[in-house]
Subunit: 186 residues, 2 copies
Amino acid sequence: MTILFPSLAKRDSVTNRGHSNSELFTLTYGALVTQLCKDYENDEEVNKQLDKMGYNIGVRLIEDFLARSSVGRCHDFRETADVIAKVAFKMYLGITPSVTNWSPAGDEFSLILESNPLVDFVELPDNHSNLVYSSLLCGVLRGALEMVQMAVDVRFAQDTLRGDNVTEIRMKFIKRIEENLPAGDE
Amino acid sequence: MTILFPSLAKRDSVTNRGHSNSELFTLTYGALVTQLCKDYENDEEVNKQLDKMGYNIGVRLIEDFLARSSVGRCHDFRETADVIAKVAFKMYLGITPSVTNWSPAGDEFSLILESNPLVDFVELPDNHSNLVYSSLLCGVLRGALEMVQMAVDVRFAQDTLRGDNVTEIRMKFIKRIEENLPAGDE
């Protein structure tokens, strides 16, 4: 399992990042993924756990986000997409993904990450070909948006770790949640 | 276990921090500790695992640290203490602990953390009274220093999570490592 752990092989990318504590975060996230790979039988289960953890983080992080960003209620999904890309990603990961590939109905879009801080130094070993390493991010987005009454589906459509040129997170609007559900663990 | 997970109960402290992505890091670290508490029988074993993970992180983080800090070789343990407190903690956690409580022989000191970013929002449940929540930090310090030929003992002497007024990390110099050991997992 140790090869999964971020190595220093690709450390050239270090200088490109603005957030000075991100290496510690990246390596700690690597320790979490490594631990889950030890705990669970297969990659699909690890992906699911990471997404679930992310959800629990998202439902908490949203309050911090709203307090610090001073962002108000979004009027449509396009505005939500812009806030996620330009404010939230910038605030928590130091990057600004581009928003693109809108569906004709305006209910789906993609976040394109030129670089993904979570995967710096990471190389997936062959026996983890189904691991979606950054699944936590999907859960965070899903949990956070649920707290502002938006049910969304979030998944990785492309991943540089799996040989794609960019990382693409696909987000689909499902429905507006009418009731104020109490925050809680899944 | 969910109560262990950082809650938003104490979110006043959010505004005091300089590193904008630290909430995500704090919550992700909380997910890691929570997972380990599920995986291991007792707190002592969790502490040990966190320390071990930290060690593996430290042996990797040191190269990033040396590259970005431009810090050269320290001439004595006092200089090492200053670099850890003023450069390393500042860089990765956004805080500057004070260096104090030197032993007469000059081989032991304490880092006093007025606030610990890892424990924002965290409250330890009663059934985890032996959990040293931030043990990862001890391992990081131990691993990083080992890579620059210093064997040290690192432990928490005080912890705000356990009711102390400050968090105190005690560091003891053991020996200078003569050989260049290859970096590797413990």
